[in-house]
Amino acid sequence: MADVPMTSEAVSPPRERGRTSSSTFVRVFRYTAVRLLALVLSVVFGVYLTILVANMGGAVDDIRRGQIREGVAMMLSMDPELRQLSRAERDALSAEFIAIAEARFGLDQPFIIRSFRFLQNALTLDLGRAEHLTSDSGSREVRQIILERLPPTLVLFATANLFLFFFSVSMALFLSRRYGTFLDRMIIALSPASSAPSWFYGLFLILFFAAMWGVLPYGGMVSAPPPAQTSAYLLDLARHMILPVSAMVLSGIFASTYSWRTFFLIYSSEDYVEMAKAKGLGARDIERHYILRPTLPTIITSFALMLISMWTGAIILETVFNWPGLGRLFFSAINLYDTPVIVGETVVYAYLLALTVFMLDFVYVLVDPRVKIGGGRGSA
């Protein structure tokens, strides 16, 4: 369901607590420093927790050790020359191989020490090499793998989310002007339909359009083999995008229009809007200067969060539609215990989120003259 932060704290103007500010510069600087520190700490903690969970608190190491042991035993038993060695010699050789392999994976150090090295690497965006996954071009670099999966996710989610966002906001504005009409009541009645997630509608659409009627593909991003011409390729891509995009739109559109509509309605019942109406201002002017203007911080917040949410993709929707994006990458990484990929994706998201939250504070000041940086107590 679309999350419209109606009572976001940053939006309501913080009350002055009787403290006269020393100087604007010091206040802004102090606020920025504290805020940055808090955000950096959150990112560090969040990423470290992810590292702990993705490694099962170190238990994944045992799985890796087992895999190494098995691999070495297989290798030794396959080699006809080594088979002639005595048992003691073979055991010594296998122990040596295991030690080398474990050292190569860093398994000779205790997990707790390595976990901090992981953390350091992750925070410096040194994403390292994947353990099992490779990019389609054959690279083990996590950066390469992620960069390769990013475009498909962006194409799909940008199309759906941008459409969803702009359509629902403008539709909501339109409805808030004429609430109580048939269309408005229909949106209200349909809004519970958004309780189902997009993969649910996705499967539903696949059932009808791909399985029953066979007019659209079951999934994937392009046909195999992909069309050679660019125009044909784009057309094919668009054909494959119809169902996933519709699924996302179907699951989001009603509730998001409904909550934006309610949000705008609350603002359009303010006294100053009545006043503007009484002054005889046109509907467009009222909308632009008296409704959109004070709601801008909320709209921007929602837009920014929507933008960074594209980074994660959607695990299930991509799985259902066989879409080669970041969500599916994440899922396969989890299934293969490929912690570098899991941590790599999480840390980039954490940075994006922290950066967005940080920037939003300043954007609020720019768009809302009532908000003062560092003005109120506990403005987190």
Partner: protein
């Protein structure tokens, strides 16, 4: 009591709320009925018991109600057991002290369009040394006699006419399911309706020897909900999915909302470091990827639905909702009645639990009701990713089974649509009620 009555009166003015309530009542009814009639252990047995439980059901058979959509009456399953069914006649010839012959005649009526899915004959022979010898004959309604097969009967013998290539040659290339039932004169393959007979002649070579047999004609439809690829009756899973989904959704929504509320109130009231710790934890938690962590827990630790449920509650406690509640509590904190409580020396706990939390309960109820389906669908989402509870049958697992066994490609749409319907019903029921409650409890929205 009068307050509840007043709320109910208000709700009854909203038709959508009444509709939502009716749906929820229906689901609760189904849940209670299920738990009473099919106890937990029985459900597990029915769902995971093995061939003994579902061997007589057809494979991926449509639900019986698909008949109503078409004019054809699709074949039902027919089971005739010589030990229990009166439709099986058992006669003996010859000297029972020496070699003798037993005849089992299976008579059944076949009034359906189309052909059965599969024929299976289970035989159980009891003998000391020499195996009894059985030969099977099929008698169609128009009086033709078709020789089926002959075999020595061991203690457990299964004969599948559909896999008998000699029988198929005798039926001029048709498989037994079609050839034994079709009208040989007709151009198109049509089944002859009427009374069929299968005669099982058994030669017994010992005085004590005996043969019992069971004829199973697997139909194309079965039960209220059809069956899956392992012949399991989907009704069990659809019914048992209801209490599981409701319990998961209600517990997760209640658990996370109540805890979040208490924590937000405590943070606001205590202020200082308590508040900032809560804020920081919330920010860390917002960075943690929610679904991926659940997937990791499911893959790496355990798949028990109740462990996953606890993790869901734990992760949702410090969600974005805490910020919303915080904003409301900050307003509540400044109210005069709180000041009054403080003046008479009320303890922190008393103020938080007796004065602050009750104040915002009406405001959070709609959100709570709306969030229930989110958690119900979350359970289904985990099942789609193959992380469903391995023991319990749930709606999500049905969808996952259907998806991974090619229900979409092979046209077993009922398999996916039925759990879809139940999920959608639950989602719409709670969401409709929640949206209506939102309008009732939030006066700012009432006129809108």
């Amino acid at each position: 009591m009068s307050r509840l009555k007043r709320i109910f009166q208000q709700i009854s003015r909203y038709p959508s709320a009444m509709l939502g309530l009716a749906v929820i009542a229906l689901l609760l009814g189904i849940a209670i009925y299920t738990m009473v009639t099919i106890p937990y252990s029985e459900a597990i047995r029915l769902w995971r018991g093995g061939e003994a439980v579902w061997g007589e059901y057809p494979r991926t058979a449509k639900p019986v109600w698909t008949d109503w959509l078409t004019r054809d009456r699709l074949p039902r399953s027919i089971v005739l057991d010589s030990r229990t069914s009166p439709a099986v006649e058992k006669t003996a010839q010859g000297d029972p002290e020496a070699s003798h012959r037993q005849t089992l005649t299976f008579t059944f009526d076949y009034p359906y369009e189309g052909f059965p899915q599969e024929l299976v004959i289970f035989m159980e022979g009891s003998y000391a040394e020499r195996r009894p010898h059985a030969s099977l004959t099929w008698i169609t309604p128009d009086g033709r006699e078709i020789r089926m097969g002959e075999m020595a009967v061991r203690s457990a013998e299964t004969y599948r006419p559909g896999q008998d290539s000699r029988l198929q040659r005798r039926l001029r290339g048709d498989s037994a399911e079609i050839g034994l039932f079709r009208d040989p004169e007709a151009e198109t393959r049509t089944a002859i309706k009427g009374t069929y007979q299968m005669v099982l002649d058994v030669d017994l070579f010992e005085p004590e020897a005996d043969v019992e047999a069971k004829l199973v004609v697997h139909g194309q439809v079965h039960g209220l909900a059809g069956t899956d690829h392992r012949r399991r009756d989907l009704t069990v899973a659809l019914l048992w999915g209801t209490p599981v989904a409701l319990a998961f959704g209600l517990l997760a929504a209640l658990g996370s909302t109540l805890t979040t509320m208490i924590i937000a109130a405590t943070g606001v009231w205590m202020g200082g470091w308590v508040d900032s710790v809560i804020q920081r934890v919330t920010e860390v938690n917002m960075i943690l990827p929610f679904l991926p962590i659940l997937i990791m827990i499911g893959t790496l630790y355990t798949r028990s639905i109740w462990v996953i449920l606890s993790v869901v509650i734990l992760l949702s406690i410090f969600g974005s909702a805490i910020k919303t509640y915080r904003a409301i509590f900050i307003q509540v904190r400044e109210s005069p009645y709180i000041e009054a409580a403080r003046a008479y020396g009320a303890s922190n706990g008393r103020i938080i639990f007796k004065y602050m939390i009750p104040r915002i309960i009406p405001m959070i109820i709609p959100g709570l009701v709306v969030s229930i389906p989110t958690f119900v669908f979350l359970e289904a989402s985990l099942a789609i990713l193959g992380l469903g509870d391995p023991v319990l049958p749930t709606w999500g697992k049905l969808i996952d089974d259907a998806r991974s066994n090619g229900a979409l490609f092979q046209g077993y749409y009922y398999w996916m649509l039925q759990p879809f319907f139940m999920l959608m019903l639950t989602g719409l029921g709670f969401a409709t009620l929640g949206f209506a409650l939102d309008r009732i409890f939030n006066p700012r929205l009432r006129g809108l």
